[in-house]
Point group: C2
Chain length 407, copies 2
C-alpha cells in the first residue's frame, strides 16, 4: 500500500539562516523516517523577498508586475535548493522544484495570482521513487509559461493546494509560534494554546490581526477541506489543528481574543441622510483599493448624519484624500480622522448558540472603565473599537472574563 503523504510548509523564519535550514531538514528527514512520503513547501529565506522588492524600487517606483514576479520568485527557488542540499547532507534523497516545474498553473494576475490547476505527475513520480519532494512556495506559471506569484501567504496556498491534489494525510504549517492561542501571549501571560479551532473562527481571528495565518490561506483550506496543523519549527510539540467545525467546539463559547492596532478611523461629517448616499461613498473608496473594515452610521435627527469607518493605517492618507473628494461631491461636511484607536474582538463558534456574549464583553470593558467607540458584530465575532492606550488592558480583561486560560 502506498505510504501516507504529509505536506509540510516552512515559513521564512523557519529557514532564515543556515542553522534553521538544517533544523528544518532534520524535521523533514524525521518525518520521512517515520514512514511517510513527504512533500515540503518552502518560503524565501527570512526577509529576502523584501530585499528583492527594495532592489526593484531602487530601479523604479512602479516595477512592472510580471517582472516583479520574475524577480521575487527567485527567493523560494533559492531556499528550496538549499533545503534539498541540507536533506542530502542528512543522507536522504530529495529533489527540488519551482512552481513551474511541478505544474502549478495560475491565472494571469501577476503578484496576486490564483491557482487554477496543479499537474502533480512529476511529484508523484519522485515520491514513488522514494524521494522527498521540495517545492518552491508562493509561485506558479500562467498558461503562457510566465512566472506568477500568489501574493501574501502564497506559500500557505501552495501547501494547501498540494495537500488537496495529493490527498495528503496532513498539512503541517511550521512557523515561529507554537500554535493558535486564546490571546497574544505577549499581552496575556496565561493565554492558552488551542488544540483545535474551526476554519471560521481562525478566519475571523486572522482577519482581526492574529498573525499566524493569512485569512486567504484559511479560506482556501476551508474551501478544499484540508485540515491544517499549525506548529513550531523550533520544538516538537503538537500545535493547533484548524479544521471544520466539530461538535465539541460548540461547547466553547469563545475561542480567543484578538487585537488589531493597525487601523485608523475616518469620519465624514454631516452627510445628507438620503437613500444611496452610503453606497456612493463606499463604492468610491473601493475603487481606490482601500479595504474598509467597520462602518458605523449614527441615526439621523437633523437630516444629516456622521459616517465613520475604519481602514488599515497604511491607507489612511489615501482614504482622507478620497473622503474629502466624496464629501465635496455629496455636499457633506468636514472629514475627521483618528489614528489612536484599537480594535478588540472575541471570536467563537459557540456564540451562534449562546446569548449574552456581547453583554459579558461590554461588562468586562466597563469594569476597567474603558469606553467603547464603535461596535461591530458577525455570527461568530464581536469587535469593539477603544482608545489605543487601553488596548492591552482591554484584551486582558476580556480574556479573564471568559475564563480562557482554563481548558
Amino acid at each position: 500500500m502506498a505510504k501516507t503523504i504529509i505536506v509540510q510548509k516552512y515559513g521564512g523564519t523557519s529557514v532564515a539562516d543556515v542553522d534553521r535550514i538544517r533544523n528544518a531538514a532534520k524535521k523533514v528527514v524525521k518525518t520521512k523516517k517515520d514512514g511517510y512520503n513527504v512533500v515540503v513547501v518552502v518560503s524565501a529565506l527570512g526577509d529576502s523577498t523584501d530585499e528583492l522588492i527594495r532592489l526593484a524600487h531602487k530601479i523604479t517606483e512602479h516595477p512592472n508586475e510580471r517582472e516583479l514576479d520574475m524577480l521575487i520568485s527567485t527567493g523560494e527557488q533559492v531556499s528550496c535548493a538549499l533545503l534539498t542540499m541540507a536533506i542530502h547532507k542528512f543522507g536522504e534523497d530529495a529533489i527540488s522544484f519551482t512552481g513551474a516545474q511541478v505544474g502549478i498553473i495560475t491565472d494571469n494576475a501577476f503578484t496576486k495570482a490564483r491557482i487554477i490547476d496543479i499537474n502533480a505527475k512529476r511529484i508523484v513520480e519522485e515520491l514513488n521513487s522514494d524521494k522527498i519532494v521540495i517545492v518552491a512556495g508562493f509561485q506558479g506559471v500562467n498558461l503562457n509559461q510566465d512566472i506568477t506569484t500568489l501574493g501574501r501567504g502564497g506559500s500557505n496556498l501552495t501547501a494547501v493546494a498540494l495537500a488537496k491534489v495529493l490527498d495528503a494525510g496532513s498539512c503541517e504549517m511550521y512557523t515561529d509560534v507554537e500554535g493558535v492561542f486564546t490571546a497574544d501571549p505577549r499581552i496575556v501571560k496565561d493565554a492558552r494554546k488551542l488544540d483545535r479551532i474551526s476554519y471560521e473562527e481562525m478566519f475571523e481571528l486572522a482577519s482581526l490581526g492574529a498573525q499566524v495565518l493569512q485569512p486567504r490561506s484559511i479560506e482556501f483550506a476551508m474551501k478544499f477541506g484540508v485540515p491544517i496543523h499549525v506548529r513550531s519549527s523550533f520544538s516538537n510539540k503538537v500545535g493547533t489543528i484548524i479544521s471544520k467545525e466539530v461538535k465539541a467546539m460548540e461547547d466553547t463559547v469563545v475561542s480567543g481574543v484578538a487585537l488589531n492596532k493597525d487601523e485608523a478611523k475616518v469620519t465624514i461629517c454631516d452627510v445628507p441622510d438620503k437613500p444611496g448616499i452610503a453606497a456612493k461613498i463606499f463604492k468610491e473608496i473601493a475603487k481606490e483599493d482601500i479595504n474598509v473594515d467597520m462602518i458605523v452610521q449614527n441615526v439621523s435627527r437633523t437630516g444629516a448624519t456622521d459616517v465613520s469607518f475604519t481602514v488599515p493605517g497604511v491607507d489612511l492618507n489615501k482614504t482622507i484624500r478620497v473622503a474629502k473628494e466624496i464629501s465635496n461631491k455629496i455636499a457633506a461636511g468636514a472629514v475627521a480622522f483618528d489614528k489612536d484607536i484599537a480594535k478588540v474582538s472575541v471570536v467563537g463558534i459557540g456564540m451562534k448558540s449562546h446569548s449574552g456574549v456581547a453583554a459579558s464583553m461590554f461588562e468586562a470593558l466597563a469594569e476597567e472603565n474603558i469606553n467603547i467607540e464603535m461596535i461591530s458584530t458577525s455570527e461568530i465575532k464581536i469587535s469593539c473599537v477603544v482608545r489605543k492606550i487601553h488596548a492591552e488592558k482591554a484584551v486582558r480583561a476580556i480574556h479573564e472574563k471568559f475564563g480562557l486560560s482554563k481548558k
Copy 2:
C-alpha cells in the same frame, strides 16, 4: 523588411549595482532607438553567483549539482528582471525570460551543460511585437525540465547561440575593458587596442590567460561563425571585432602578448624511457580532471628521463598526489614542483607564413637576461615558461621587440 537583430551581452561587472544596471539599460534603449531589434543576455549581478555558491557550501561541502544549478540560476533571473524594469523606466517596452522560458535546451551535464537546441519562437514573437527581449544568461533546461547551467562564461555561450539562431547582425559583448589589447595595459603602458582579431588568435590568447573571453565561448562563436564585438559598457568606443581570419590579418605577424601566472610546474624524475609511459602518466592525470597545459620531456641518455608539465595552480596539490601515485606505479623517481613560474606567449595568425618569430621572442628575453625554462609552440603561438618575478619584464620586452604599440 524586418529590422536587423543585435544581441548584446552584459557581464556581471556591467550590472554590478543599480547605477550600472541603469547604464546598461540606457545602452540597450539607444540601440533600439537606432532602429534595431535588441536581444539582451545578462549575467548575474557582480559576484552574486559566488555568494550563492558560498551559501551552498555552508550547508554541505559537496552540493548536489542539480540543486546547485537550481540555486545559482536565480542570479541571472534576478538581473534580467531588474534590467527589464530599468528599460521600462526609460520608456521602452521590454520583457525578460529565463533560459527555460525561451527554450534553451541542454544536455544533462549539470553545472557544465551544453546547449543542444534553442526554440526561439517566443523571442521572435516578442521582437515582432516591438519589444526588447532580455534573456537570463548561463542557463537552460534539459529535456526533463530540470534547470541546468552552462559553466564558466556561460552567458557568452547563451549570447552566441542566440545570435546564431536569430541570425543576428551583431553579437556585442559588454565588459569592463575597451576590447582586446596587444598586451595587458596594466603591464605594458603603450599596449594598443586591436580593431580585429581572428577566432584562432583570440582562442589562444584566452587560453593563455587573457581574461576578456573564455576560450569555450570563442570556440563556440568560431563553430557557429558568429562575429563578436568585445566592447566596454562604460564608454561608447568601438571595441575589438573577433571574426574569422581575413586577408589583412595575415600581414600582422604577432597580434598580442599574453601572460599567465596561475600555473605551476610538476616534474616526475627518472621516468623509465619506454613506449607507452607518457600515455600512462597523462591518462591517470586526465582521469582526475586536471587540465595539463605544457609538457616537456628531456631526451633520455641513461634509460630514464624527467617529465615536466604545467597545471593550473589550483590543481597543484591534487596533481602532486596523483603524480606520486603514478611514480610509484611506473617505478619512477621523486616528484618535484615549482609554483614560481609564469608563462609568456605571443600569438599571431601571421606566424603561419613568417619564420623567425620564435627567434625574435627568445632574443627579446635573452636581451633582458631572462632564462627560458620550458618552450611550447603551436601553429599560431609560442609560449615560454620563465621565473614569475621576471614575468612583467618579459611581456614588456616582447611587446617592444615586435613593435606592437604601433599600428
